[in-house]
């Protein structure tokens, strides 16, 4: 036995002092009170009892002393943190594989849970002078070296499922690497100790699922589904496809060992939005690849009302969008309650800000859309804010404007400007509007190739959606700064924003939405990947030599529990004068 907090000599001294104190206190005579007893008979009985009970009394006193010594010594030894011989301190770099296959379920949680438990055991069984570095294979956790045990345990607790690959990360010099993994790793340094979490599990998984439009017919969508039985036995696989919680396609297919099911499925009968593909197989132990998500755009035509006295070019461009149903309304017939998804005001501004999203072209100043006086200039229009989705692929090289108003609305995002004066601007998500300071007749914008692109971008921006991002679990990047990330049911997900993009962590498959500047981007997190199965990694049935550290309680806790019991026993027996 060795001690984590004290040396052997120190422990011996403490034990001796504690024992001496107990003995010394124990042998203090309890001073009984003086009581005058007149009866001689009573005294005789006292003397007789004393002579009869002396042996028992001695045994009682010895037992009581031993009990007290046991309690004191157990406390002293526990406080010094005893541990088995050989579990001394040292420098350990703990590498925890948090790759996708560690999602596999084994007895006692996932492989990652077991890996973290094993790492904690290794930490707690090490001496108090041991120092650690903790690293995961995805790179998300990478501590400095020289962590004490508590810090190391905290670092292990921070490890989450990620998308690490089979490359062993670098660790600090002088620290012996210990890797907790379920598969062979590349670049394992010499002398590294491998703790294998592998055990054969049954797995049938989705290896690919994605919804895609046919280029020739953009309104038609199909999905590709690939399922592989990684198991050594044939399996019956139940497949369901539909919106989460609403199944539209359901079938069961038999899959031989190692066989694959691959099919292209029509999607147009399904509801727009999230499409979930889910499989279930008896005995499957890797649920992370049993679900995958796709996205079906909303085919519902958008109702656009164009309020104008006549602008054929604008009507033609808007009306040519296959997803739009256009209604042309004369300004005199405009009513705020007009039923439309988007209002386009051509040289007309309503008195009050419309509640419906609006595109304003050549508007006059109004109380809710403050514009500077119209200027008669031939401005050089520079597209600024080109990262804004409205300006994607919009080239204004040949745009000539003879007269324009300058948009001065507070909170507006400038999109194109003339010498710092904004001539095209967008509002916020809370007040979604886009304003072009010049009328189409005062420019050649309507004849530019950029015009239909700008209108298409505007429609997409107002519709609030963009092409989905498909990612794998781990740290996910959304190329929009300051995006708010939410789950499918609207829960906010912590995220950070830096260098023009937003990032968040997804532990497993799921659907998220990233909303920035009024555009909502679906983020589909799928584990569907041909190479990720925990069933049987290529080349080896296990990750290598090395035993899983036996999960056991630290010795001090066992001692503390024993102390607790002895304290309780001693208290009761002392009260009953069984012990003294």
């Amino acid at each position: 036995m060795t001690f984590g907090l004290l040396s052997a000599g120190q422990m011996a001294l403490v034990a001796a002092l504690a024992g001496a104190a107990v003995v010394a206190i124990f042998f203090l005579k309890v001073r009984h009170p003086l009581v005058v007893v007149p009866s001689l008979v009573l005294w005789q009985r006292v003397l007789d009892e004393h002579r009869r009970d002396s042996l028992i009394e001695r045994l009682r006193r010895l037992l009581s002393l031993l009990l007290a010594l046991a309690i004191a010594w157990l406390l002293a030894v526990a406080a010094a943190e005893p541990r088995p011989d050989g579990a001394s301190g040292g420098r350990l770099a703990l590498i925890v594989d948090n790759g996708p296959t560690m999602h596999a379920l084994t007895g006692g949680g996932t492989r990652l849970d077991r890996a973290k438990a094993a790492a904690r055991t290794l930490i707690t069984q090490a001496g108090g002078d041991a120092r650690f570095q903790v690293v995961d294979t995805s790179g998300a956790v990478r501590t400095p070296p020289d962590l004490d045990r508590q810090q190391a345990v905290d670092a292990v607790d921070r490890i989450r499922p990620g998308a690490g690959d089979r490359r062993t990360p670098a660790t600090a010099e002088g620290y012996a690497p210990v890797i907790f993994t379920d598969a062979p790793q590349e670049g394992l340094p010499e002398g590294a100790r491998v703790v294998s979490l592998f055990e054969r599990v049954s797995n049938v998984g989705i290896t690919a699922f994605e919804v895609r439009a046919t280029p020739a017919r953009p309104s038609e969508h199909t999905a590709y589904l690939s399922i592989v039985n990684f198991d050594a036995e044939a399996r019956e696989v139940a497949i369901t496809i539909g919106a989460p919680g609403r199944t539209r396609v359901q079938r069961t297919v038999p899959l031989a060992a190692g066989a694959a099911f691959r099919q292209v499925l029509p999607m147009n009968e399904l509801d727009p939005g999230v499409v979930e593909a889910r499989i279930s197989t008896a005995g499957d132990r890797f649920p992370a690849d049993d679900v995958a998500f796709g996205w079906l755009p909303d085919p519902r035509p958008w109702r656009v009302a164009l309020i104008t006295t006549g602008q054929p070019a604008l009507a033609a461009v808007i009306g040519s969008d296959p997803g739009v149903v256009l209604e042309i309304v004369a300004p005199d017939d405009y009513r705020p309650a007009i039923d439309a998804d988007l209002l386009v005001f051509d040289r007309f501004v309503p008195e009050t800000a419309p509640e419906t999203p609006a595109l304003l072209i050549g508007p006059a100043p109004s109380a809710w859309l403050p514009l500077a006086e119209a200027t008669r200039t031939l401005p050089t229009v520079v597209a600024s804010g080109t990262e804004h989705p409205l300006m994607a692929a919009v080239a204004l090289d040949d745009l000539h404007v003879t007269r324009t108003a300058v948009i001065a609305a507070e909170g507006a995002v400038p999109l194109a400007a003339d010498a710092g004066h904004t001539v095209i601007a967008a509002g916020s998500a809370a007040a979604p509007w886009v304003a072009i300071g010049f009328a189409l007749d005062d420019s050649n914008f309507a004849t530019q190739p950029a015009f239909p692109i700008f209108i298409a971008n505007t429609l997409a921006w107002f519709r609030g959606e963009a092409d989905p991002i498909i990612a794998t679990p781990g740290l996910i990047e959304v190329p929009r700064a300051g995006a708010m990330i939410t789950t499918l049911d609207g829960q906010r997900v912590p995220s950070t924003s830096a260098l023009g993009a937003s990032r968040f962590t997804a532990d497993g498959p799921g659907v998220f939405f990233a909303t920035a500047r009024g555009v909502r981007v679906p983020v589909l997190v799928n584990l569907a990947q041909a190479g990720w199965t925990p069933a049987a990694p290529d080349g080896a049935a296990d990750a290598g030599a090395g035993e899983l550290p036996a999960t056991s309680r630290p010795w001090w806790t066992l001692m503390a529990m024993a102390v607790l019991l002895l304290l309780a026993v001693e208290w009761f027996t002392w009260q009953r004068r069984i012990t003294v």
């Binding site: 004191a72 045990r149 529990m561």
Partner: protein, 859 residues
């Protein structure tokens, strides 16, 4: 963890609830004779010991607020950073340590890799000599990896700060990901800009060009240059070792873009290499850059010319410009959209509308709507009633053939030969032609009909065309007689028109015979001087065509010659329309460019010659006017029609009205650009593409994505798709299907060699023409040696996003301010020690009597 205290085994805390009841329960059953007060004390002590042991078993951890600061100084010593800058960084660090040394500090030097330096003096040494075991690899700047390495360099339990000294010009790694991890760990990054080496270098910063071109098609490569000094340079573009473009230039300090035009004739994946030549350039390693492009088949153009003999002008120009031009036999356009779709653009030049059946026009309209490109060039055949008015072709065009402003007053004299030779159908047809002409005229136009043989007689004197019914009746009375003498008729017509004030005064002369020699030239020349024009129609084989043609030339009109008189009525109507509606303007017309257009950039437009005639049209409201006459009539207009584009050129593309243009140096480039602008956009939805993906460990993966989209735009299933990668060795990698029609594979390739990758699959799939199925994967360029100015914007953004400061003062870097780090401390050993001490006290108070029993004393 919600507060400063947490428990690793909190379930033990439930036992605390039982401590007091147990202690009291046992105490009530006491057989000891201690006074009550002492029994209470004993119970309290025992309860406290029990509670301390239970608390220890619950393993509490105290997260102590720690103000200690650990600073990692991360210094960029890559090849781009100047030695003086690195020395300034060392001085900065030394100042920071003097002002207020952090509780822990580490100095890391980085480039492509990171090394830990023992002290700041080592940094100073590294500034001067960046090689050796103690130096990192300086061939790249991997900011992401450096920041990631910094995470592992802090002292635990401290406030963590990075001070990054760099020029911000990262060339490898994933900085964004590293920044996100720093943010997640709450690590501030303060940034200090470093200067790059100033060695008087000039280099190629980048190349921009199209990803796909057609064989033979000129394309532009923008070469971004950057120079630290003013100097003269020469930039070459090479393809397969041959120079395809060359341009000398004078560069000033800063950036400059040179645009070079090149063309490649071999189809397939290609690499264009830009080479910069500059005498005495100190860093030649950064003088090359390469651009990958996919070269498809030559673009196909169908050119239908109404006057085939003149087709060779435009055809030659377009073929030199890189197009394959098909001029169909017999000048016939296919009437089938699929047949038209084999071409990327269609040119219809000076073709009469009657020559295009309805089915052909409909096919052409559908072709443009479906994405094809159409150029309709004018000429005499395209205007007016017999032109494209009210046809599907007019719908497709950016102009309409309704002329906004007819020429105003028109006075027309029709002179008909009524000699004996005209007897029969010829004279009848001539009379019908004259009558038909009346229907073209406006009511206020003046028209007169002269019939002549050896003299001239007014069948109908000059009068408003509103009297057309009477005039027609008068025309009907013309009978054949006599023989042909033209001169008196012309004299009479001249006399009559001289007395008329009209914007247009014109004579149409029809004859089938020969006449005496008279001073026609003198007469007609006089007429032309008085702005009275003469057109002639020669009918039959005996007509003096030479004289008739000369008359039209002298008279600045047109000459027509027919064997078959049945063609007369049509030409009369056409000629009358031309005159009455002003649909043609046949005089030298300067060309005006209403505004600067990117399409014509760098063309010699200032020297564009005049056109000798054009068809008057009206621009549609949503069409773009590219060229115009001085009176704003459209000469060149374009617009979008459906998925395609259409261009109308009001003049002709050959040697009639465009005769001067054929000698203009910009003729070929002009038409090449117009055609390229209008033609079908290549289908970019399919093919093999290559993506480089940075890994979090700093490496680089290569992803191959094959989109199998067939010619009809359908997603095609492939059998055994794979990619063959040829480098120093050849490897074949299977592509896995990941979506309908999409196949992918990710491999790790060496970054210092070139590869060519080709998609393979079993069976046949008809891809759209030009779909790239092979791509180059080029070795990484040495971007480290491109010594551009520091990227201060990046450094500012990095500092801002992580809560740090840009260019902070050294003094405050170790000041924790209000920030605190949480240092966890397990408390259980202390609790057990406390339990031991308290147990000894507990034992003591069970052995000694502190208070006497007052009840006993009293007795």
């Amino acid at each position: 963890m919600a507060g400063p205290l947490s428990f690793d085994a909190a379930a033990w805390l439930w036992l605390l609830l039982g401590v007091v009841p147990f202690v009291v329960w046992a105490a009530r059953r006491t057989l000891t004779n201690f006074p009550p007060r002492q029994r209470v004390l004993q119970g309290g002590l025992r309860g406290a010991v029990l509670a301390l042991v239970i608390l220890a078993l619950a393993q509490p951890v105290w997260h102590r607020n720690d103000r200690r600061v650990s600073v990692v100084y991360l210094v960029d010593v890559s090849a781009s950073v100047s030695a003086a800058s690195v020395e300034r960084a060392a001085a900065w660090i030394a100042d920071a340590s003097r002002e207020r040394a952090p509780d822990h500090a580490a100095v890391l030097a980085f480039g492509a890799t990171t090394v830990v330096l023992p002290d700041v003096e080592a940094l100073g040494a590294l500034a001067r000599v960046r090689t050796g075991d103690a130096a990192p690899d300086v061939s790249d700047t991997n900011l992401g990896r450096a920041l990631d390495d910094a995470r592992a360099a802090f002292a635990p339990g401290h406030l963590r700060r990075v001070v990054l000294f760099s020029d911000g010009r990262g060339t490898a790694g994933d900085l964004a990901r590293a920044t996100a991890l720093l943010q997640a760990d709450g690590i501030e990054v303060h940034t200090v800009p470093l200067d790059v080496r100033e060695v008087g270098d000039v280099w190629i910063d980048g190349l921009t060009g199209p990803a796909r071109v057609s064989a033979g098609e000129p394309f532009t490569i923008d070469v971004a240059l950057h120079s630290q000094v003013a100097r003269s340079v020469v930039v070459e573009l090479r393809h397969r070792g041959e120079v395809v473009a060359l341009q000398p230039a004078r560069v000033e300090p800063g950036a400059r873009v040179l645009s070079l035009e090149a063309r490649v004739h071999q189809e397939g994946p290609s690499v264009i290499e830009a080479i910069l030549r500059a005498d005495g350039d100190p860093v030649p390693q950064n003088n090359t850059r390469r651009h990958v492009l996919s070269v498809g088949a030559r673009r196909q153009v169908l050119y239908v010319e109404g006057r085939p003999a003149s087709a060779h002008h435009l055809r030659t120009a377009l073929e030199v410009g890189g197009f394959d031009v098909t001029v169909p036999q017999g000048g016939r356009l296919p009437a089938d959209v699929d047949a038209l779709s084999a071409f990327d653009a269609v040119i219809v030049s000076d073709v009469e509308a009657q020559a295009l059946p309805a089915a052909t026009m409909a096919a052409l309209e559908a072709y443009v709507e479906g994405g094809g490109g159409l150029v309709l060039a004018g000429g005499e055949a395209v205007y007016g009633q017999n032109g494209y008015s009210d046809t599907p072709i007019e719908r497709v065009l950016p102009v309409s053939f309704d002329v906004k402003e007819p020429p105003g007053e028109v006075a027309l004299v029709i002179a008909l030969d009524r000699s004996w030779s005209m007897v029969g159908p010829t004279l009848e047809l001539a009379k019908e032609a004259s009558k038909a002409s009346l229907d073209v005229l406006e009511d206020n136009h003046l028209v007169g009909v002269l019939a002549f043989n050896f003299g001239a007689e007014w069948v109908s004197p000059l009068q408003p065309a509103a009297n057309r019914e009477r005039i027609k009746a008068q025309i009907s009375t013309i009978d054949p007689a006599g023989h042909t003498v033209i001169y008196p008729a012309l004299e009479e017509a001249y006399r009559a028109l001289q007395g008329v004030e009209a914007a247009v005064r014109h004579v149409i002369l029809l004859s089938d015979g020969r006449t005496y020699e008279d001073p026609y030239e003198e007469l007609i020349t006089r007429m032309a001087r008085d702005e009275i024009t003469v057109s002639t129609v020669a009918v039959g084989g005996d007509a003096d065509r030479e004289l008739m043609t000369n008359m039209s030339v002298w008279g600045k009109g047109r000459a027509y010659a027919f064997i078959d008189a049945r063609e007369v009525p049509q030409i009369f109507v056409t000629e009358t329309e031309r005159v009455a509606r002003g649909a043609l303007d046949e005089q030298p017309t300067p060309v005006r460019m209403p505004q600067q257009i990117a399409l014509f950039r760098d063309l010699p437009m200032p020297s564009v010659p005049a056109l000798l005639g054009y068809t008057r049209t009206t621009l549609r409201p949503s069409a773009e006017l590219l060229l115009a006459t001085p009176s704003d009539d459209p000469l060149l207009a374009r617009w979008q029609y459906g998925l395609g584009r259409a261009v109308f050129f009001a003049s002709d593309v050959k040697d009639r009205w465009g005769a001067e243009w054929l000698r203009w140096p910009g003729y070929r480039a002009f038409w090449t650009r117009v055609l390229r602008d209008v033609m079908r956009r290549p289908d970019t939805s399919g093919g093999l593409r290559v993506e480089r993906v940075a890994r979090h460990d700093g490496g680089l993966d290569t992803r191959f994505v094959l989109d199998a989209v067939d010619r009809a735009g359908r997603l095609a299933p492939l059998t055994r798709p794979r990619v063959e990668i040829v480098g120093q060795e050849t490897q074949t990698v299977a592509l896995a299907q990941t979506a309908p029609g999409r196949y992918e594979a990710t491999v790790t390739l060496a970054s210092d060699q070139d590869y060519i990758a080709g998609a393979r699959f079993d069976g046949r799939v008809q891809f759209a023409p030009g779909t790239p199925l092979a791509q180059f994967v080029l070795a990484r360029d040495l971007d480290e040696l491109r010594l551009g100015p520091p990227d201060r914007a990046l450094l500012e953004s990095l500092a801002r996003d992580t809560g740090g400061q840009f260019d902070p003062a050294p003094a405050g870097i170790a000041d924790p301010g209000e920030a605190r780090a949480l240092a966890p401390r397990p408390l259980w050993p202390w609790l057990l020690w406390a339990a031991l001490l308290l147990y000894l006290v507990d034992l003591l108070f069970r052995r000694i009597r502190v208070w006497e029993d007052t009840a006993l004393r009293a007795s």
